[in-house]
Amino acid sequence: MSSGLNNNIDYVKKDLPPLINKIGIGLTIVGLILVVLAYFTDPTRSAFNNIILLMFLTSIGLGSLFLVAIEYLGGAVWSTPFRRIAEVFGAVLLILPIVAIPIYFNLHDLYHWTHAEVVATDKILSHKSPYLNETFFTIRIIGYFVIWFLFYFIITRISQKQDTTGDQNLTKKNVKNSAIFIPFFAITLTFASIDWMMSLEPHWFSTIFGVYYFSGTFLSALAIITFFVVYLNEKGVFGTGVVSDHYYSFGALLYGFINFWAYIAFSQFMLIWYANLPEETFWFLNRWEGSWLIFSIAFIFIHFLVPFFALVSQPSKTNGARLKFMSIWLLVAHFLDLYFLVMPTFSPDGVALGWIELGFFLLAFGLVFLIFSYKAKSVNLLPVGDPKLKRGLDFRL
């Protein structure tokens, strides 16, 4: 399929490298087997891991959709050729309800506030019960899914329609849709992180928690898109237009959000450390005792210091191999980030890392690869009808 609608470029839809599909199927099968076994051996631990899986996939799906939206809103040119990749990763959202179902079967093991007899004797929890109760929880979760699906379908449909019609008004329409999406995104993302992760410790609260999760969301969505753009470009899927100047933009953005994450994470820590209020500090104390201390300190290196120095120089941001490696590194780091947020509630005595965690980890990556290879078959990987595409491909530093 070639298109000269708004852009004088030759784009021929090529088959994806079969490796993506193979990795996707392989990881998904191994992951699924381990996950099913895990649910038979230790359902509570599996349910906690299930939350990590759910939040990881939310990060990828919702973060990608957010990238699409800000690309429209900012009128960005350099990223136009990669918008379709972000849209394809937005499809990860569609699998979320299935991933969220097992959490429902283990709600009482996961969430302290679902026990009516506990809430009745606990003054703080009974004050929070108008928000933290099972009915409203369910309504909210359904609400998030409805909002996310709605915007996913609206924005991607319009974007893909432009491939065939080349109508420039479609861009304007999507700019409007994106502007509406942003506040919905901010609110649903914040409350989803509060509902699924922060309410694991219902006595604890942190007003920056939503922003903290957002920083990881954006970083991981950017990382997976960077990885696939570099990989697919090396396989020649985009033709000849994508060069190291585009890589540099991805590298710079990744680098910026590595710092953003560290800034937010430190802000959360420092305020709690400084004020030293018992109702807040116990959350960090749980992560500062026993083997969690080693994990927490190693985590500073994994999520901040190593990526910071790996991506600090200009040549490293334009180096495809380095970018691919750091993208995968950051995705693993985000997975560990979610692990750091969720698991100390399950095992406050020490880090619990075993085959159960490995199973969910493999399944997470398997699903992302599989959904990408499945969705990317049916669409052009460049938005060939977009009036900004030619300028995007011509982007140079």
């Binding site: 820590f269 420092m270 450390w273 400084y274 030293n276 200009q314 982007f395 140079r396 530093l397």
Partner: protein, 377 residues
């Protein structure tokens, strides 16, 4: 005045032309050339095959230096030189240092980058360049895109370059000449005019700072509430006849918590009528001992024998173990504490009523230690 050829220049009308020209000139093997454009053009680095800038390393090492400096500075000041407990945090509270460390890192990195840019890469204070004040420079700083190949280039040949520029469809091609004297002119920092200028600037800045901080700030309405429409303690007050800012209390008023002492100058009556309200017990004897050791022992001695550590510095107080003092009533002793006696001043400001009675009780204990009753055995 000796005019020498500096370079051949060409002007182009569009950014695409200049990118194309830069690429061609690079491909032809020229090395000593530069491109001048009104604004940075995307893709120019690649077209000129420029290596990545080294400026980043300056920033990196200045930043790392800032990090180390900030941590060492705060660690030394707050942990070693003058340790203070702040908010119950340790003497090296790393999380509290991070924001300041970050700021000093950024500050040092940016200032060093700008400084390096100006003095190392731009070679300030040298501000002379053959291209200055030429038709070429006027054009490329408004709406044209220019390229210039210098005579220092090993491949320089005026005719070839003119042909090359013509084949690239340059709108203007012209040579640039320069004056040896002008370019080799050295900036003299110790120039009297320059130094005079610096002195004038310094005088102006300090004078205006002085006027601002000492005069301007106190002109209404910048008086910072120094003058307020209210009557304070030492000010005149026209509301009352006596004109006092703070009125005296009404005759016979008693301050809260204050009980007047009715036996002023009447030691015998006090001895007869005052009754010790405290029954000696462990608690009030502890209080009495504590207060006695603080306020009484410097003169009377720890054992009340008048053998204090201040002995002979002024008239020695008598022993409190004398027959006279032992037979005094508690109230008589209390009176001495309240009013003082001979050289001894009043201790009513240092000791509360309860504490005075506690001291009396403790004194009785001291007296009995030397003159015990038979029943104590």
């Amino acid at each position: 005045m000796s005019e020498k050829l500096y370079s051949y220049t060409a002007l182009f009308d569009t950014p695409n032309d200049i990118i194309h020209a830069a690429k061609t000139v690079t491909e032809k093997g020229y090395t000593k050339f530069d491109v001048n454009t009104p604004y940075p053009i995307h893709g120019m680095d690649a077209a000129m095959k420029l290596p990545p800038s080294k400026l980043g390393f300056v920033t990196l090492f200045a930043g790392l230096g800032g990090t180390a400096l900030a941590l060492l500075m705060m660690g030394w000041m707050m942990g070693i030189d003058y340790p203070i407990v702040i908010g119950g945090k340790p003497f090296f509270p790393l999380p509290a240092f991070i924001p300041i460390t970050f700021e000093i890192t950024v500050l040092l990195a940016t200032l060093t980058t700008v400084g390096a840019l100006l003095f190392f890469f731009f070679k300030l204070p040298n501000n002379r360049h053959p291209l200055h004040d030429t038709n070429y420079m006027k054009n490329v700083s408004s709406d044209k895109y220019g390229i210039c190949i210098e005579t220092e280039d090993p491949k320089f040949n005026a005719e070839e370059i003119k042909e090359l520029f013509a084949s690239l469809h340059a709108s203007t091609i012209e040579p640039v000449y320069f004056d040896d004297d002008e370019v080799n002119f050295k900036v003299v920092v110790a120039d009297p005019k320059f130094l005079g200028f610096l002195v004038a600037v310094a005088l102006f800045v300090s004078l205006s700072a002085y006027l601002h901080l000492n005069k301007l700030l106190y002109i209404v309405p910048f008086s910072w509430m120094d003058e307020q429409e209210k009557i304070v303690v030492q000010k005149k007050n026209d509301l009352f006849d006596n004109g006092l800012g703070m009125q005296e209390p009404v005759q016979g008023s008693v301050a809260r918590g204050f009980i007047p002492y009715p036996f002023k100058d009447k030691p015998e009556e006090a001895g007869k009528l005052l009754v010790n309200p405290l029954i000696p017990d462990k608690d009030n004897l502890e209080v009495g001992k504590n207060k006695y050791n603080i306020y009484c022992s410097p003169c009377h001695g720890y054992l009340a024998e008048g053998d204090s550590r201040l002995n002979d510095q002024f008239p020695n107080p008598p022993s409190l173990h004398s027959e006279k003092v032992r037979t005094w009533s508690d109230g008589r002793l209390y009176h001495v504490i309240v009013e003082g006696q001979n050289v001894m001043p009043s201790y009513s400001y240092q000791l509360s009523r309860q504490e005075r009675w506690a001291v009396v009780n403790y004194l009785r204990v001291l007296q009995r230690s030397l003159n015990a009753k038979e029943t104590d055995l």
